[in-house]
């Protein structure tokens, strides 16, 4: 993902009238990347399942932050921009951290299940990042080793195994969630009564997650 660097004004040859790079369609502006990350954060916060990772967005925003921090070093003490940029950096870092924490939270709770789901996906389509997958594996094996040391190894042979299936729990996709329709979408099947509902753009609803999970993933619906 290409991001535009909007910080040219802080280069050593300071120029008030630096014009920005031309916007093009395949290029994502930092502004749009940030909005996309914020949406991903809220979706992750409210969805019962783990959503496909947004590693690119996270890395893009972290790059923006470190780039900005570099630029701030060039500013003199007392420059009005110092505080303003630092505040914004803190806001973005909060979103990133909160987003990644929420994912780890779910990964720990459903580690075995997510690992088995991702095992059926190609590495490009995996929902967890490589680092998250690694973390999930280590987590499961650390739990197994604690269980074995303290309990399982002292049990009779027939029941001493760490049974992955028995330990694995699945997220409840029938949970009710609040949503806003980003786009008009027709024919949403309401679970239970099989009636159809049409979502107007910007309309808000409470509905079972399972009915709109696919719309969260394709961006037609935002969890709120």
């Amino acid at each position: 993902m290409e991001t535009k660097n909007s910080e040219s004004e802080y280069s050593t040859e300071h120029n008030e009238n630096v014009s920005h790079l031309e916007e093009s369609d395949d290029e994502m502006t930092a502004e749009r990347a940030l909005q996309a990350l914020e949406n991903a954060w809220l979706n992750e916060k409210f969805s019962p399942e783990l959503l496909p990772h947004q590693l690119e967005l996270v890395e893009c925003m972290l790059e923006q932050i470190s780039h900005m921090e570099e630029n701030l070093k060039k500013l003199e003490k007392g420059d009005i921009r110092l505080n303003i940029h630092t505040m914004e950096i803190n806001r973005i870092r909060f979103i990133i951290s909160s987003y990644l924490r929420k994912r780890l939270d779910k990964i720990e709770e459903y580690a075995i299940y997510f690992l088995s789901e991702d095992a059926n996906r190609s590495s490009e389509e995996a929902f967890m990042t490589p680092a998250e997958t690694h973390f999930a594996r280590e987590y499961v094996s650390s739990v197994e080793s604690l269980f074995t040391t303290l309990a399982l190894q002292h049990m009779p042979r027939r029941i001493k195994d760490f049974e992955l299936n028995a330990m694995s729990s699945k997220p409840n996709l029938n949970k009710h969630v609040f949503i806003r329709a980003n786009k008009a979408t027709d024919g949403i099947l309401i679970p239970g009564n099989m009636n159809e509902q049409d979502f107007k753009e910007d309309s808000q609803h409470i509905i079972q997650y399972a009915a709109i999970a696919h719309l969260v993933k394709n961006g037609h619906v935002q969890l709120i």
Partner: protein
Amino acid sequence: MFGKEAIKLIHELDQCEEIKPFNEAIFQQVLEEINSLYEQNSKDVSTITETNTAPRNSVIVRHFAMNRNKRCLLTYLYHRLRRLRQIRWELGSILPSEITANLVSAESHWFQAYSKSLATYMRSIGEDGLNIMNDVHPPKSLYIEVRCVQDYGKFEFDDGQIVNLKENTYHLLPRSQCEALIRQGVLEHVSS
């Protein structure tokens, strides 16, 4: 009655949210119960014949009792582990001694392994890693007023300022770096 001891472990979890001393005595008793149930079953199973089916019912009951005991033991371990994990998220990688005192060594090992995994994960984020245990609350303003609750000594902040954190002194400090100290109980947020 089978399973009577095991349920005590679950009650213990229910009674308080803290990590109590590992209940070695009951934990051992339950393990012994499991093993004796198993032995009795092994004996009885061999006596079952086509004409003598009576022991079958006791075998089934013992089997369920055994599994229930196992489930209680693992639940006990798992919930203690989750509490430890919570402490890692809230207090960081150094366990307070009053908690360490209540752990058995396998639990301490788990905590270290977990901390290590978490650190590995956090190092992987972006170019230079990111401590996602900071920034717990939405940022409000850059500086917050804090009161020092205990003597801590000198602390150097990212912007280079060195502050002597003495008990009962008030400071206006960068919020980002105060969070950890607040969680450790060194500082206290003074709300205006």
